[in-house]
């Protein structure tokens, strides 16, 4: 089992994702340079947070054209697991690997703080170690996390149970009070219809040790590990 963390110019949570996997999960992981088309036989690919190419255009709009994204797309199409965190999520949206878009936060300011998200579906490789409705305390840190999509897309997401995480209050109400950035339906993270590509705005890799305020994000990585183990067994 091996994880790959893609490094775009301007990625700045690449080390954090790497650290969470190598030092906390204690699983093999390596960096993949954005100009490489070789995913180095990784079993799961993480697009980390940051400001790829400075995000001077729409977030993720340039990064999606990086050579590595061709391979990521191919990998995803063949069923490989891809997780986009924050800027990585934005890149997946731009690349069309996930539906919808994010806009500037409704408050028009960058927000960094712990929020609460509810696990809405547990039959995805990113959440299967969590329990349905589990509330996770994880930090957000973004300017553009206001998830938006047209009515038809939202209906699709609901119908196909693609909304994996939604923002809630600490006691689990997903109302306006729990919504930090204006996202429609309080959406914090989604997956594709095939359930092997997911993205979320919050940073689970920053919530893997209680010393840093929360270890709730660990369950997302543990889900990935379990899914990879299961997949490996199935092919063995």
């Amino acid at each position: 089992m091996k994880f790959g963390v893609v490094v775009f110019p301007g990625s700045n949570c690449d080390h954090d994702a790497f650290y969470a996997i190598a030092n906390i999960l204690k699983k093999p992981v390596e960096f993949i340079w954005h100009q490489s088309q070789d995913l180095a036989n990784c079993d799961a690919v993480i697009l980390p947070g940051g400001f790829a190419h400075g995000d001077y255009l729409r977030t993720g709009a340039i990064a999606r054209f990086s050579p590595v994204m061709k391979s990521v797309e191919k990998f995803a199409k063949s069923g490989g697991m891809v997780l986009g965190i924050c800027n990585g999520f934005q890149i997946l949206l731009e690349a069309g690997l996930l539906p919808g878009a994010v806009m500037r936060n409704s408050g028009l300011r960058y927000i960094c703080r712990h929020v609460f998200i509810r696990v809405e579906q547990t039959d995805a490789p990113f959440t299967n170690a969590a329990s349905q409705g589990q509330i996770l305390k994880v930090p957000i840190a973004h300017n553009d996390g206001n998830y938006n999509a047209d009515e038809a897309t939202l209906a699709d997401l609901e119908r196909n149970r693609q909304i994996l995480f939604s923002y809630t209050t600490p006691d689990g109400a997903n109302d306006a009070a729990g919504n930090p950035n204006g996202s429609l339906h309080n959406i914090a993270g989604i997956c594709n219809r095939e359930r092997n590509v997911a993205g979320l705005m919050p940073h689970p890799e920053r919530a893997v040790e209680s010393a840093l305020g929360s270890a709730d994000g660990l369950v997302i990585f543990q889900s990935l590990v379990e899914s990879l183990v299961t997949a490996a067994k199935a092919t063995a």
Binding site: P9, G10, G49, G54, Y110
Partner: protein, 783 residues
């Protein structure tokens, strides 16, 4: 000036326009042995500007203590460096960007952060934290402040905050602390002091010394444009007038993405082993970097401007040498191995061009398409600039009588309304609205972010294994109001409080950095303040074991002839031997005993029930006096550094022993504010019912307001599990610290302080919290 060419003949008038005095100009001619050309004049004028040459401060700065067991590098390099064990070092430094931030708040603040970050990674250290010490004019109208001025100050604050956030967030360094203060004197002259901290392996440190004749000099990063020409000399070395807005083109523009690439590429290039020296291009750009590298290395440097990457066409040598375009670096590589270095920068998509070489003979030689554009001996240019022992004069004593002082309320007065008002005042109110705009948790090292502990605490991951053992704590402090009233004592308080904050997080203070913000050095009263502050810092840093390892001086902080308060901002760095032993301010358990620690022994502490006139005089300099009565007078509290030291040592010992559940020093707003903040922090930790406090203050003979809101130093409030109480009281005795039980942490919402047998504050945590938590946001958004 922007159209200057080498053909312009230099006259004494042009020299004067460049800010050089007649005497300085003749010194230039003496060094060169001839008249300078216009490019050379420009080079001298920036290098000898106050900002770059420290010509007015040098004679005083020499008095500061700069040595210590743990100091690896003191002042004079890009940043100070201290040993943090296991082969690792911490590089840290604070620097001002005041003038640009007034002229253009957003860009001024971004480039301030960018500049200090470059100083850190130039040393080979990866930046792991930024703190910002900010001062603005009043953001609330009233008390002689017009709504127009308040609105302007709010706009400056908003721009500065957005600028800091924009740069740090994109670059990927957590902005974890600092302070924000408000005084009228900063209305036309905000202070933006940014501190950065980085970590490196000791053997991987880099210095800015050009060595090895024939070694190539490589220009890296952003292209050179016409922005920021004379930023250092014109903007930072002169006071503001009505025409200052015209200086906007002198402010540089920041590109945090470019800087992030530069960081990664520089650290990677350093790993090739082919980099000999490296220096960032900050103030005075190419001029300063070439001159200083040559001067420090005892060599010369020769560059060809035709090779310098340029953003626009037709730039003159004068403009290229003086440009302050951001995100540029100059490095010296080992001859024959430069390809390796260039390849790294190519990988990161950065311009990297060999623009010249190290030469012997000690000359800075600048060529432009084969023509000699400037030729100056580097060492005299860098080191033999003017040094002034400017006149010093103590300002006339303020005529003050008891009528100017704060008048205490009668015993038994309900102080709850005043307390709520104090908690809502911008200086005391929660800064969460600001700090939430900063990425505080990137790099996953933040053990205590803004407001969680008295200091920001960052854990140290071993660069190779990621294993965590120790943590670093950082705090900044500087009370301009106190320094105005008594510069020497005020400066001592700044060091003492920053060190106390570090100790209250559990870390042992080890070194300091300073940013000295003052008015015009041409005014004898300002130089008196400066000299007094240096003396105060010297005594305090010596006594508290925190040598100064670097920093900067910012003079000319005045507008229309009016100086700011003398504002030394001190950053203290401390080390926590066990990263799991961080002390935070939040109360944690119902039933814990609240203990007031006082570095003063019980005799002094009893005397502290000072006679009322002395208490009034001291109290008139407090935050409460200013917020409630609008009175700023008297003297800062007297300070005894031995007493401070005792308390700090005890706090560090308490953290190591794990005997206390929380610690919070007593500072702005006194004991009452300290207690309230510990309750507020507890509420932030839980989603259930929070914790309150019930306290009975011991200072029986002092007026209630003095006991509750007095700001005498060397005190902290800790909460202790009942089973540990006896141990804490006993160990306090051993450390010579007075420990007194003053109350209890209670389940629920009550917040009650008794004094002389009657409740002087009796309210709920929730009510106080609402004012404190939302005041700043309400003020800013209520336009």
């Amino acid at each position: 000036m922007a159209t200057a060419t080498t053909e312009i003949k230099v006259t004494p008038e042009i020299a004067a326009e460049h800010g050089l005095t007649a005497e300085e100009y003749s010194r230039v001619k003496q060094i060169l042995g001839r008249e300078p050309n216009i490019t050379e004049l420009g080079i001298f004028s920036v290098m000898w500007s106050e900002h770059c040459s420290y010509k007015s401060s040098k004679v005083h700065l020499k008095r500061l203590p700069t040595r210590g067991k743990l100091v690896v590098q003191g002042p004079g390099e890009n940043a100070g460096v201290v040993d943090i064990g296991d082969g690792l070092v911490a590089a840290f430094k604070i620097e001002s960007h005041n003038h640009p931030s007034f002229v253009e708040p957003f860009q001024g603040a971004t480039t301030g952060v960018g500049g200090i970050l470059r100083d850190i990674f130039t040393m080979g250290a990866r930046p792991v934290a930024v703190l910002d010490s900010l001062r603005f004019g009043p953001i609330v109208a009233g008390n002689g402040v017009s709504e127009e001025d308040a609105a302007k100050n709010r706009r400056i604050l908003d721009g500065v905050i957005r600028g800091i956030a924009n740069y740090g967030n994109c670059f990927g360094v957590p902005t974890v602390g600092g302070e924000v203060g408000f005084e009228s004197c900063y209305s036309q002259n905000p202070l933006v002091n940014a501190l950065a901290l980085g970590i490196a392996k000791k053997e991987d440190l880099f210095f800015a010394k050009a060595k090895g004749t024939g070694n190539p000099v490589i220009y890296v990063g952003a292209k050179t444009g016409r922005d920021g020409i004379h930023g250092a000399s014109l903007l930072a070395s002169a006071e503001f007038t009505e025409e200052s807005k015209q200086k906007r083109p002198n402010v540089q523009v920041g590109d945090p993405f470019m800087e992030k690439l530069l960081l990664e590429a520089c650290l990677e290039a350093m790993q090739t082993g082919a980099v000999v020296a490296i220096q960032d291009m900050g103030a005075a750009g190419l001029t300063c970097s070439t001159t200083e590298m040559a001067s420090r290395g005892g060599t010369g440097v020769e560059i060809d401007l035709a090779k310098v990457p340029q953003r626009e066409s037709g730039m003159t040598p004068y403009e290229i040498m003086l440009s302050e375009s951001q995100e540029r670096m100059l490095l010296v590589a080992e001859k024959g191995r430069e390809r390796k270095v260039l390849e790294v920068f190519k990988k990161w998509g950065l311009d990297a061009v060999v623009v010249g070489e190290v030469s012997d003979g000690g000359l800075l030689r600048v060529k432009d398409r084969g023509k000699l554009a400037a030729e100056i001996p580097a060492h005299p240019l860098a080191e033999e600039g003017p040094v002034y022992r400017r006149p010093i004069a103590q300002p006339a004593l303020r005529r003050e009588t008891a009528a100017d002082w704060f008048a205490f309320s009668a015993d038994g007065t309900d102080l709850t309304p005043n307390f709520a008002k104090l908690l809502g005042s911008p200086a005391i109110a929660s800064k969460r609205w600001i700090t939430e705009q900063y990425d505080t948790s990137v790099r996953t090292n933040t053990l205590a972010g803004p407001g969680a502990s008295d200091a920001a605490v960052i854990r140290i991951k071993d660069p190779e294994t990621g294993v965590v053992k120790r943590a670093l704590a950082l705090a900044t402090d500087g009370n301009g109001r106190w320094c105005q009233l008594n510069p020497r004592v005020g400066a001592m308080h700044a060091v003492a409080e920053a060190a106390r904050n570090v100790a209250a997080s559990g870390a042992r203070p080890m070194a300091a950095t300073n940013c000295l913000n003052f008015g015009s050095p041409e005014k004898p009263e300002v130089m008196w303040q400066f000299s007094e502050v240096i003396d105060g810092l010297t005594v305090a840093c010596n006594e508290l074991g925190t040598p100064i390892t670097g920093g900067n001086v910012s003079f000319y902080n005045e507008t229309l002839g009016k100086s700011i308060y003398p504002t030394p901002v001190i950053g203290v760095l401390g080390i926590l031997e066990d990263a799991s032993r961080v002390l935070k301010i939040a109360f944690r358990e119902e039933g814990d005993v609240i203990v007031l620690l006082d570095g003063a022994n019980s005799v002094v502490a009893a005397q502290h029930a000072a006679p009322v006139p002395a208490a009034e005089r001291e109290f008139s300099s407090s935050e409460y006096s200013k917020a409630i009565a609008g009175i700023v007078a008297g003297e800062p509290p007297a300070i005894d550094l031995a007493v401070e030291k005792r308390l700090q040592e005890y706090l560090v010992a308490l953290a190591a022993s794990g005997a206390v559940r929380s610690a919070h020093d007593v500072s702005d707003g006194g004991i009452a504010v300290t207690l309230a903040e510990s309750c507020f922090a507890a509420a932030a930790q839980t989603t259930g019912p929070g914790l309150g406090a019930k306290v009975n203050l011991p200072e029986e003979s002092a007026p209630a307001e003095y006991a509750l809101f007095g700001e005498r130093g060397a005190r902290a409030i800790v909460s202790v599990a009942p089973t540990f109480l006896a141990r804490v009281l006993e160990s306090a005795r051993q450390y010579g610290v007075t420990a007194r039980q003053i109350g209890q942490v209670i389940r629920g919402d009550a917040f009650r302080i008794e004094h002389k047998g009657s409740a002087v504050i009796d309210t709920s945590v929730a009510k106080l919290h609402d004012t404190w938590a939302h005041s700043l946001e309400r003020t800013i958004s209520a336009r």
